[in-house]
């Protein structure tokens, strides 16, 4: 589904990604771990198409198409979804309004008919309920004044509504209490399917006990320095990144 080859990227002239190779097949869940500043968020931004992140070398193909050629919104239409490490607050725009516009934008791109308002609201409420979200959040402005954990749940709600085929989750588990972590993990697991792939960025093995990955990678200084199975996460949790990075 996703093939990243020798990806190099710079931000404001500084090279942050220094040759990443990664292949993710449909149905797989990959976890990326790594120290602060190693380039995890940068990788997610490059995949989602943030302006100012310049790819200087390498390629990314997504379902056979050149992902790097597409503007951000087309990538969303093609099925890429990024759950932000720091979701943005959009004051004054109700969550429901925003979600309807987003869902219809991607449906339009995919050649599907727009949902009518009643259908949409019913669907949205059901998804919010699954996530244990108070329906009040649907009326409130997007992320405005939400706590860290509430913002992360809201990201999961958007993901559930947009039905992406590639989910990039950037530290969706950070700052969550136990209940929220469970709810978010369940939301992620509920979306696991043979047609869908996930790239889960995290610092904590805790998430990976709920969302068991097929592969774990260690990113350091813009390169993947180690890859392994779920047991790698356990090892990193116990020993830290030191050895993996030195061994590289």
């Amino acid at each position: 589904m996703l093939e990243i080859n020798n990806l190099h990227a710079t931000v404001d002239g500084a090279e942050i990604l220094k040759g990443i190779d990664l292949t993710i097949r449909a149905g797989e869940v990959h976890a990326i771990m790594g120290p602060n500043g190693s380039g995890k968020s940068t990788l997610s931004y490059v995949l989602a198409g943030r302006d100012g992140y310049e790819v200087t070398e390498g390629s990314v193909t997504f379902n056979g198409k050149d992902l790097l050629e597409m503007p951000t919104e087309e990538r969303a239409g093609e099925g890429v979804f990024l759950a932000f490490q720091y979701p943005v607050e959009i004051p004054g725009v109700p969550n429901t309004t925003f979600l309807k516009e987003a869902v219809n934008a991607v449906r339009k791109y995919r050649g599907e008919p727009e949902l009518d308002a009643m259908e949409f609201v019913k669907h949205l409420r059901a998804k919010a309920k699954e996530l244990g979200m108070n329906p009040e959040f649907l009326k409130r402005a997007v992320n405005a004044g939400f706590s860290g954990g509430e913002k992360k749940r809201n990201e999961m709600l958007q993901m559930a509504m947009l039905e992406p085929s590639l989910c990039l989750l950037d530290e969706t588990d950070s700052g969550l209490d136990i209940d929220a972590l469970k709810a978010v993990s369940e939301a992620i697991n509920a979306m696991r399917s043979p047609e869908r792939a996930m790239l889960v960025i995290t610092h904590y093995q805790r998430l990976l006990t709920y969302v068991v990955p097929d592969h774990v990678h260690v990113l350091s200084k813009g390169r993947i320095v180690r890859s392994g199975g779920p047991e790698l996460a356990q090892e990193l949790e116990e020993k830290g990144y030191g050895e993996s990075i030195e061994a590289a």
């Binding site: 919104e73 990538r75 004054g92 925003f98 987003a102 947009l162």
Partner: protein
Amino acid sequence: MAQQEILSTEPYLARFNAAKARLPGAGQSWLDELRETAAARFRDLGFPTQRHEIWKYTPLKALQGIGFTPAGEVARPASLDHVPSLLPAKAPRYRATLVGGVVRPELSSPDEELPAGATIERLAAALERDPAGLAELLGRVADDRDQPLLALNTALFEDGVVIRLGRNLVLDRPLELTLVGPLAEVPTQVHPRILIVLEEGAQATVLEHHLGFGTEPVFHNGVSEIALGPNARLTHIKVQAAPLETFHFATTHLRQERDSAYDGFTLNRGAGLSRLETRVKLVGEGADCRLNGAYLLRGRQHGDITTVVDHQVPHCTSREVVKGAIDDRGRGVFQGLIKVAPHAQKTDGRMLNKTLLLSEKAEIDTKPELEIFADDVQCAHGATAGAIDDMALFYLRSRGLDEAAARALLVESFLAETVEELGDESLRPLLLERIRDWLQVRRESLEEVAA
């Protein structure tokens, strides 16, 4: 400073001299005197120029060389079967419609609908019916002697509206005041005068809507005088959506007595050149004044919002949140002055101006100012200007919105903050709708469906 402007007062004074015997109320000595004094003042002051501090950012040179015929002389009643409204079609309202500055009774609600104690009248008719009453009102709130455009309006006004609510009268529906530009085929000038008087404890909502259908230049020079008695409350929305060919100048003079509340919202989005000025005198303790607003400018539009709030007595509150979005080569001006007299202790005055610049050529001149002579006050002001946040734009696009839709949503988000300042929640959607149609966004309200 640019070359001196030479906008001549001559044609206007000539017009006054030629028409004064025919202007409404002519022959009533108090009014003749008021108009003569105003004409003389206008002659002495001349048109404002950029050398006047308060007109520094808004030049009038675009009016130069255009001969504006008085609208009353050319705009023969063309038929208008549908007057656009700010309210949903079935919403109850009282209505007064002016075309080219003159009230059109057939487009206004009949008097018999009004509750006893309320009157909404043509100014020209009120001058005949109740000259003594009008003598007590006209020029009483707008008594400034240094305002050339006020003087010009006083000398030349031909019509307008007089709204009076007696003690404790609560107007049960909003009053929609629609000012349609002249339907003329030559350049025209119009100087409408609006008087609003709320006696003690009275309450009303006035929705003022300026628009037009013409393609000829219009020099609009409106003056409103609003007097709020003790404990009176007025919600006043003003939407300026005149055609681009219009030069729209309007000054609202407001005087507030003890414990009165004014909740004003100005949406300035029309006219090629506009200046909406509000001058407030807080003369009774406990008065509360809100002057919120938004400006939306594009192309080469120039839009100026100027406010002067004069705290003359202790314990009054004033609040201003004025935000704008400027695209293309649009140019915005915000000037806000809070004055606090020496004995006006415990004044609470706050003012905030924020602008979103949507293009590199867009410009804003912002000048919030405090002039404080009392020592025990809480006053603050702030101003910011900046571009759309990249991260927010990326966030929305990553959810599938194309760039135009994402930008429009962010502008709406930015301006929603000021709309939310409006106390009467039920009126917020009609402002958001005007903002959306500027952004060319159509979106049904999901809140209703969800409810």
